[in-house]
């Protein structure tokens, strides 16, 4: 009886803790899931683990198995609405400034501006890629346990 109670208590604590620490993504972007004219995609670690087991993903020049293993979540926010684009850009600028992201790359082309930021956290690292095109703005946040070396590997062809 005592064992059952102890186990129940431990399970409850684990459940509580996991629910509190489940935010493995950039929390500031969560609000876009409810916003009108905004497409919000969230892929959790559980789904990535499932996907890893089901298929053999391939991206040229990338060790996908390694990349999938280190990812905790992917958030993709896309919008064509003027108001939402302005808000999203301001949000990215705010997050980058506040959380002290480092700019990795800036690619300016005629029709698009791409910014890639990186935050090397103790518990979690984030790669933030914002793409601003003439009629669309998109932000992709990759959260995981990767290091700058892993990003370097992505550029090796």
């Amino acid at each position: 009886m005592r064992k059952i109670f102890s186990r129940t208590l431990i399970c409850t604590l684990i459940m509580l803790l996991s629910s509190l620490t489940a935010n493995a993504q950039v929390e500031e972007f969560e609000k876009y899931s409810d916003m009108k004219n905004v497409t919000y995609v969230y892929i959790s670690k559980a789904m990535l683990t499932l996907a890893k087991g089901l298929t053999a993903p391939s991206v040229p020049g990338m060790d996908m198995k390694n990349a999938f293993g280190k990812l905790n979540a992917i958030q993709i926010i896309t919008t064509e609405s003027k108001a939402a684009r302005a808000k999203l850009k301001a949000e990215v600028a705010d997050v980058v400034k506040r959380d002290k992201y480092e700019m990795l790359m800036q690619v300016d082309e005629d029709d698009s501006k791409v910014r890639i930021y990186f935050k090397d956290g103790k518990k979690q690292s984030v790669i933030l890629m914002s793409t601003d095109e003439s009629n669309e703005t998109s932000v992709i946040a990759f959260s995981g346990t990767f290091k700058i070396e892993d990003i370097q590997k992505m550029t090796e062809k």
Binding site: T8, I43, I74, M105, T155
Partner: protein
Amino acid sequence: MERLNINELNIKELEQIPIPEGLEERLSAKIDEWDAASRTVAIPSTPHRGFLSPDNGGTEGGAKTIEAGRGSWRAFALAASFILVCGIGLYFALAPTNKGTIDTYDDPQLACQEAENALQLLATNLNKGMAQYEAVNAKSRQAEEILNKQLTKLN
């Protein structure tokens, strides 16, 4: 084996059978002992009832120990139940409001494809940036070579 019907037994004849001396006292003492033991084990209906005092057959120290253990165990069970209820409540209260943490895809295949596209885009942009950096670096080296050549001529 021949069976005896209870109705056929003659009560008067049974009463004549001699009872061993002291059996009645011993039996009642045994019953009292069992009663005392059952009271010590039984769960009291109120927190302060059920204490055994020496006059009703129990030892005070032993009963108190059992009662104290039971009290702490009850507090532990109460705390565990409270945490359990709060945990479940919190879990379900937070989950539906936080849509940003709900998987968009139910199909892992689709999720994989989306993740692959996102990573592909990241790799492409990183490579674009690296290509631009290489181009600028090459131009810079070229300019440096020309400058060095001119400086050598001047010297």
